[in-house]
Symmetry: C2
Subunit: 318 residues, 2 copies
C-alpha cells in the first residue's frame, strides 16, 4: 500500500494537465439530503471525469520509449477517455477496449481524441486489451488496480482536503476501487476525524460482498444504469486500502441513481452521469444518513451523458 | 441614481435569506469562448435565479402593515418566484401575474410556494397586476424599475467583486435592466478597470435601440426563447445607470441562445435556462470577443428549465 507521499508526487506530475475542479456548497440540496451538502465537481474535469488524473499519472511515469509503443486500456468509457486525452497530450497512440454497452456519447468522445476504439462483451474487455498489448508491444494501463493510477485518483482527495478542510464526510462512487483508495488515503492521512464512505451499484455489490468475505470476491455480471461502475471484483491492490480506510460501502439501486441524477440536475443545476450521482442516490435511498449540521461532500465522479439520456428522468420524483 | 452604499445596505438586509452563489473558473469552455471563462452561478440561487435578491430587498423594506396587505408582481417567472419565496419567508400573501407564454416549470414552482398565479397576455401583465393591487390594497413590486429592486440585484455584483477581484469583464443578461444596473454600479464603484457588458435578445433590442436614441424607447413585442428577458422598454430608473456604467449592450439571436445553453450543459455540466446563457451566446455569435488571457465572468442569471425543454438542444452544434 502507498501513502500520501505518492499522491503528492502524482499531483506534482499531473497538475499542469488537469483542472482543480470546484468544490462548492450547494444549500439548495440540503432539504433533500438532510445534511450540509458540498459537491466536488469532477464531472467538470477535462474529459468529463476524475479518470484523467490516474491515466495521466501512469502515462507520465512511463519511459518515453514505452509511451512511444502506445497505450492500451479496457474501459467502460471514462478511463478510456482519460487515456486517449493523456496519449494526445504526450504524443502517444492509444487503443481503448470498450464494452458494447458503453454509451455512445463516451465512444464518440474517445474517437474524437484520435484514439482507436475496439468494442467487445463487457466480461471480455480485459482479455482483449491484453491481446492487443501482446501484439503491439504497447503498455496496458489498468483502470484501477495499479498504484500509479490509484495515487493519481487520490489527487482529487488532496484537493478536497485543501479546498474545504472542515468537511466531515466524503461519499465516493465505487467500482474497482481506484478512486476511493486514493481519496481515502489522501483524506485519512490528512484528517483524523473525516469519514469516507463508498457507494456502489446494488446490481454489482463487489465491495459489499468482498468486505463481508474479507477478501476480493467476484460477483456475477449484471446490468446497471451506473455504466461507469461495472467492475465485478475489487482490485487486489485497492481492496486492502478500502478495508483499512473506508468507513462503509453501501449498495444503491438503479431507481435511486436516476432520482439522484434528476435532483442534482433540476435543483442543483449540475449535470452528472448516473454513476456520478450514486452518493446522492445512497442518501436518497436511506443507505447513508447524516446529522443536519454535518458537512458532507459528494464526489461527483463524471459527467459524460448524452441529451437523449435525459428523457428517462422526466417522469421521476425525487 | 443610487450608489454602492444602497447595495451594501441591501446585502446586509437579504444575506440571511439568500445563497452566496459560487463563482468558479471553467477552463473547459475557454477553447469555445476564446478567453479565460468564469461563471457566476445565479442559476444555483434559491428559487433558481438572481431575482430573489431584489424581491427580498423590496419586501424587507416595506412596513409590516404593507406586507400584511400582500405582495403583487407581474413576471415572466423568475421575479414572481422570488416574490413568492420572499412572501413565504416573511409570512405575507403573494399574487403573481404571468404571461401565457411562461414555461410550465416556472408556473408550477411559483404555485408550489403558495402564491396565487394569474395568467394573461404578455403585454397586459403590468395593467393586470396594477388592477389587482388597487382591488386588494396590496403592494406592487416592480421586476426592475425600482431602486430597492435594482440595489438588491446589485448584491450579485458585490459578490463577484469579493469572490474574484481579478476579473476583467462581466457579461450580464439584460431585460428591463434591473440586474445590470445594480451589478454595474457595484462593480464600477469597486474597480476602475472592470468592463461590464450586457446581452439582450435580438428579437427585443430595447437597450440597443434606446442607447442609440439616447432615451428609453419601446420596441414591438416579439417572441424569443429568452423567456426571462421579455421587457419591451428599459426601466426609466435603469436606463441612466446603463448609459453611465455599461460599456456595451449587444443583441443575440435565439439560435445562439440554444447553442450557448448546450455548450454550458454538455461541456460545462451546468444547467441554465436560455436567458441565463445569453452572455455565452453573445460570444459564440461573435457579438463580443476577448483576448485569450482576459478573465471574463459570465453571470448565469437563472436555471428554471424543464427536462422536456432540453430535447430541442439535441440536434445543435456549438
Amino acid at each position: 500500500m502507498f501513502s500520501i507521499t505518492e499522491i503528492e508526487e502524482a499531483y506534482a506530475r499531473i497538475k499542469p494537465y488537469i483542472i482543480e475542479t470546484p468544490l462548492f456548497r450547494m444549500p439548495t440540496l440540503d432539504p433533500y439530503l438532510g445534511c450540509e451538502v458540498y459537491l466536488k465537481a469532477e464531472n467538470m474535469q477535462i474529459t468529463g471525469a476524475f479518470k484523467l488524473r490516474g491515466a495521466l499519472n501512469r502515462a507520465l511515469s512511463l519511459s518515453s520509449e514505452a509511451r512511444s509503443n502506445g497505450l492500451v486500456c479496457a474501459s467502460s468509457g471514462n478511463h478510456g477517455r482519460g487515456i486517449a486525452y493523456a496519449a494526445k497530450m504526450l504524443g502517444a497512440k492509444a487503443t481503448v477496449v470498450m464494452p458494447y454497452t458503453a454509451p455512445e456519447v463516451k465512444v464518440l468522445a474517445i474517437k474524437a481524441l484520435g484514439a482507436k476504439v475496439v468494442q467487445c462483451e463487457t466480461s471480455c474487455r480485459f482479455d482483449v486489451a491484453e491481446q492487443i498489448c501482446n501484439q503491439q508491444g504497447a503498455t496496458l494501463i489498468p483502470p484501477y488496480d495499479d498504484e500509479f493510477v490509484m495515487a493519481g485518483q487520490g489527487t482529487a482527495g488532496l484537493e478536497i482536503a485543501k479546498q474545504c478542510p472542515e468537511i466531515d464526510a466524503v461519499i465516493v462512487p465505487v467500482s474497482g476501487g481506484g478512486l476511493i483508495s486514493g481519496v481515502s488515503i489522501a483524506l485519512k492521512e490528512t484528517s483524523s476525524t473525516m469519514k469516507v464512505y463508498g457507494a456502489e451499484p446494488a446490481a454489482l455489490p463487489r465491495y459489499t460482498m468482498s468486505l463481508q468475505a474479507g477478501k476480493p470476491t467476484q460477483v456475477p455480471y449484471r446490468q446497471t444504469l451506473a455504466d461507469a461502475l461495472v467492475s465485478q471484483k475489487p482490485g487486489n491492490k485497492c481492496f486492502p486500502c478500502v478495508q483499512k480506510y473506508v468507513d462503509q460501502v453501501v449498495p444503491v439501486s438503479d431507481t435511486f441513481l436516476l432520482k439522484g441524477m434528476k435532483l442534482l440536475l433540476m435543483e442543483g443545476k449540475i449535470l452528472a452521469e448516473p454513476s456520478g450521482c450514486i452518493g446522492i442516490a445512497a442518501v436518497l435511498q436511506g443507505q447513508l444518513s447524516f446529522q443536519k449540521k454535518e458537512k458532507v461532500c459528494f464526489l461527483i465522479s463524471g459527467g459524460s451523458v448524452g441529451i437523449q439520456q435525459l428523457a428517462a428522468l422526466e417522469p421521476l420524483d425525487f
